[in-house]
Symmetry: C3
Subunit: 499 residues, 3 copies
């Protein structure tokens, strides 16, 4: 750090503040204790130039608790998982510099910012200093690999280049142009993440004059599988919104609703119309959203997404029901988001490694057979189901829970059958030359086929899992599973007549 520059800057800043105060402007509130020297300087300036995030951070736990204090809590109440916090961070609160100054040498986006070495993008690898268990769990999840999953899987890659790509019409044909990086960034990659690299430096005109900053590609982005300038995969901010990093926000279903929405993944929508959702929406303002561990029946009365999928849950007596996990699929045995059909959860978050029996990089064959060697086995499935049932059984008796999952199993089987019927029609169309299989995502019959499993079969399975009957019935449910088949048949007939 260029000390002379810093002192110079401080001097100028303080001078400016003094001038403004004399000029009659309101004075800022005093800063809380425990800020590092560097963070004090960050805040001194940024409370003027990005005041919203400074104020937001001031409401955070990060701004109030040092890692030392955090570590003094009983293990179950701890919010950090490292036992060994670097000396320089132990006794200061977690401020601007503590996060944006981490691991500068690993960060291609590190730059000199008024004498400080600052990273633009804070990555999971930076958060890992205090939260290593969470970062490690996350790093092997499908979420952390979400961008690779789209880019390294040729089939999904074709999909990404096809749907959001510009189209032209030539004669009676649609011609596909390449999808732009911008459009991919705000469709698929908005949730899956972008590849953020550094393309040298650039000048930006700001309120305090022109400054030089790293020129980032595909930025801004907050997708869960973002590849960061330090080479790490993932982002914590999609769920832990900056700069309050509020556990309340992460625990509320609105967070998940940023991506897990109808028509393809209607998790939030189904929750919204479920009994659990009804109770949540009615009573949320009275619950304790900040307690760690999170006590069922005491802190909350009905589960949110986080309850079942990742939070540390205890009873009101402090008995652990399930441990915290940041590998979000790790409590799941079946993947109801069918590709093409539902299937046991993949063993590895890097699903692009999968090959099905036909050599395609998808977890089931077109005719339904799972690519079993890449998927968890029966034993692991049962273990995970037993783990999940523990949560249900905090409120529901064992018989109730078993029967719920029996119904769910039946629905999985039936919806897969309905996807198979549609796939058989598609195969027929391909075989009879009515459509071209070279790109399976660019023709009318293919789009109808996709709707069958991607929109409708999926919706019904989410509805079955979480008890939202409308999505099983008239809203992307059996009604559409049925009428879509009709439309496929009708289209095939028309195309045959045309031939």
């Amino acid at each position: 750090m260029n000390r002379i520059f810093v002192y110079l800057f401080c001097l100028i800043s303080l001078l400016l503040c003094a001038v403004e105060t004399l000029a009659g402007e309101e004075r800022s509130e005093p800063l809380p204790d425990g800020l590092s020297e560097q963070t004090q300087l960050c805040v001194l300036c940024h409370r003027k130039y990005t005041p919203g995030i400074v104020d937001d951070w001031l409401t955070s736990r990060h701004s109030k608790i040092t890692p030392e204090i955090a570590l003094s809590k009983p293990v179950l109440e701890r919010r950090i998982s490292s036992e060994v916090i670097p000396e320089s961070l132990r006794s200061v609160v977690v401020g601007c510099y503590e996060c944006h100054g981490q691991n500068p040498s690993a960060h291609k986006d590190n730059f000199d910012h008024f004498g400080f070495k600052i990273n633009v993008v804070v990555s999971p690898n930076d958060c890992k200093t205090c939260h290593p268990t969470e970062a490690d769990q996350y790093s092997v999840s499908k979420k952390a690999n979400a961008l690779d999953i789209l880019q390294k899987n040729p089939l999904y890659h074709t999909f990404v280049e096809t749907i959001p790509g510009l189209k032209e019409v030539k004669g009676d044909k649609i011609t596909l142009l390449k999808a732009s990086e911008y459009t991919k960034a705000e469709t698929c990659y908005a949730c899956h993440g972008t590849l953020v690299t550094v393309n040298g430096m650039k000048k930006v005109s700001t309120e305090i004059g022109v400054i030089e900053v790293p020129a980032l590609t595909n930025w801004p982005n907050q997708g869960v599988g973002r590849i960061n300038p330090d080479g790490s995969r993932g982002a914590c901010t999609p769920c832990h919104a900056r700069h309050s990093f509020s556990i309340e926000i992460a625990r509320k279903p609105y967070t998940c609703s940023q991506c897990h929405l109808e028509p393809d993944v209607p998790a939030f929508n189904v929750y919204q119309e479920s009994k659990h959702g009804n109770i949540f929406f009615s009573k949320q303002y009275e619950w304790n959203w900040n307690n760690v561990p999170w006590r069922i029946g005491k802190d909350f009365k009905a589960p949110t997404c986080a309850t079942c999928h990742n939070s540390l849950i205890t009873t009101s007596d402090g008995k652990v029901v399930v441990s915290r996990t940041h590998d979000f699929g790790s409590r799941l045995w079946v993947r109801i988001f069918g590709l093409i059909y539902s299937h046991p959860q993949p063993k590895d978050g890097r699903t692009y490694l999968i090959k099905n029996k036909d050599g395609l990089p998808i977890p089931t064959a077109f005719t339904g057979e799972p690519a079993s060697e890449y998927l968890i086995d029966k034993n692991e499935q049962l273990l995970r189901q037993a783990e999940m049932k523990k949560i249900c059984q905090c409120c529901h008796n064992s018989d109730w829970v078993n029967l719920h999952f029996s119904k769910f199993d039946s629905t999985i089987a039936e919806t897969d059958k309905m996807s198979l019927v549609a796939t058989q029609l598609l195969l027929k169309a391909w075989n009879e030359g009515l459509a071209d299989p070279s790109n399976p995502f660019d023709e009318m019959i293919e789009h109808k086929w996709m709707k069958q499993w991607f929109f409708y079969a999926n919706s019904i399975r989410y509805a079955s899992a979480m008890g939202g009957s409308d999505y099983a019935s008239f809203k992307n449910g059996w009604w559409y599973l049925t009428t879509n088949l009709e439309e496929m048949l009708d289209l095939i007939q028309t195309q045959k007549e045309r031939k």
Copy 2:
């Protein structure tokens, strides 16, 4: 009750608790006063094995107020409608055993549970002990008959077996397989209710070992027309969620949203975008959701579903505006949920008794004539409308209210006309052999016809009734009412050409 078993069980439980306490586990909070001896024993065990519902119940009024105290309130403030509570229940709070131990001889699902005679399913007939007026009103409503309505009406029964049924494709035809009980249970019957019967006993493996419980069919289910193992019809829990039985939850529109959703019954969706909904969503957290009676302007500022459709409403001065009802159609004059067309409300909740002029079990003929002898007459319609207007008039002047309903009347007439146009097209298709009338719910032209009245005409009427203009316009409104007609015409033309 087998006293020896009970004492033995208590001893063991207490011993276990002691052991756990000595082993260093946290102690439970003390129980509130007023629990019956039996409920104390239930809670002793269930706070370990289903702690969520015990904690939820502990927040309920049931856990705090005895019927005796409940009866000491002024009549308008009472939450129970019986004047004569059985001696054994008068002075204890309403706990596990007080509900799950009611009327054991009537309950085919009663079983010996550690020495107690317990019913798995608490039915409206059990709640009736303290809430007889509500149970009686409910029992004659369409809601209580909601399962019979689907099963005893051959037309609706065909619908239920057709839409959520598995389909196969043979040649260029779709073959319909029977809908499974599981799928019906999570589509139609999720809201309408299932037939819950007892099929002997079965062993269930639980945390405390294998126990024997009644083997229930079509369980779990919380549909409003559930037929219970004691022979009663209905369920209170769809709206009065277990085990807080919170009046706040019942009064909030999220409860109704579990079933009354687009595309067929978009009541919640329309409310959400209405002025009333806007005010509710903005200010709900400041209102008094628990007061009985519920005072307009004082406890709440804008109506929710419950306000207009069933709550006891008074002014802030205590003047009764409308009385409480649990026959949810009883304040309604017209049924805007068209079957096929809107029509005066049925006289009897058992709508499967209706025969229209063509002998079909629906309240209007295909050509629109109402089955008037089964429907309330003009006089009753006017009485009910006058009752509803009283609620509107708490905030809106008489002229405003009259004009609102004049517009509504016009919309009812217009949307019925648009349903008639579609029906005429369907009849034409049937007459010309383009479709087969034997099952009116299994062909493309029939599905488009259904959308006209079931999705679009309905949506517009709900939008008109409650002031949500988007559902009258572009979201399942006139836009679709118009384009769907085009599609019907186009399909008929294609099918003619194919013939």
Copy 3:
């Protein structure tokens, strides 16, 4: 005012009250101080006959603060913009009579109501007495002209008469009947406003007997462009809901959601799934919704619609970020609600004055060229963009903000291209006689064309602007932009074959 009548009325009212009190009815709470003599009399009666609005008003700032006190606040904290309040209004709170008694001679809906000269409809011109800046800004906005925009633009007028109009089928053609005033009032005009005129007097039967009131046309209505009986344009109540006139309600996105909804204007829907929406829905109950000025980071942590589009925003130190505006387009440079294509904001709220290069009253030609002379120039666009960026920069750095808007610009261009492709197909259909251009809104191919720009291209632009990726992808986004093109092509082919 007929004094004798008033005194007589008071006497009778008080007598009635006395009788009721003696009869044992509950007594009303005492009224707050500061009510005018007239308002006291209004309330005396209306707390019996429309108690809900009286109670609602009693919670309002209007019922508690006199203009005199309001004016004593520092300028930035003021909620009224007039410096000169008429003497008669200065020292009384803003009650029934203060609003409904304004400018009686201008009001065709003024009538004698128990001795008072009362206007039924309170108009922006009445609110202007205390809020002149807001009324003036509003009066030149597109909102204030929203009804004229539909009625004076022949193209939009055709649209309004076509979509919500009754249809008949004659042979294989759909015949269009005229849309009824009632239906227009609850579809297009529900948001755009109706023409409210006075058609003499009429008798209305009320709880206190038959009274005479003005016979209003197209009433009730709360559209933003309502033309009022005093000749003024607009309505304040769509956002400032009666009779609390709560700034909290106006600032929350539920208010905007009354009109700005999918599929055509999915502003609320996109917000709901955005990061900003997530934070709002999670934390709204802790924010300060009533503070003026509204302090970013202090009173609220994430923007709502009002933050970016019209509120006065300061930092927590009191520095003004943006000034308040009630011309809701005035911070916008581009209009992403395409007609047909996105385009620079119109200079004048009266957009019916626009003529494009083909002489059509729309801001872009069918082939995309903007009607530039009616639209703001590049310089003004940049000024407005800079203004908006100031708000973003309260939390986001300059580079982040610039990159966000670069992506947005790209999306605007791409979606316009996708609208152009659809328009070229429509033009082809018209040219080849497959459809009739005389009414561009009444045929199947035209409806599909409309969906392309009105539903899908719009949705993607809103999604891009506010960061809601689902509306850019599968929910009315690129998926539909793509499949809709296919359907247009398919339809054209079918129609050619039929020819």
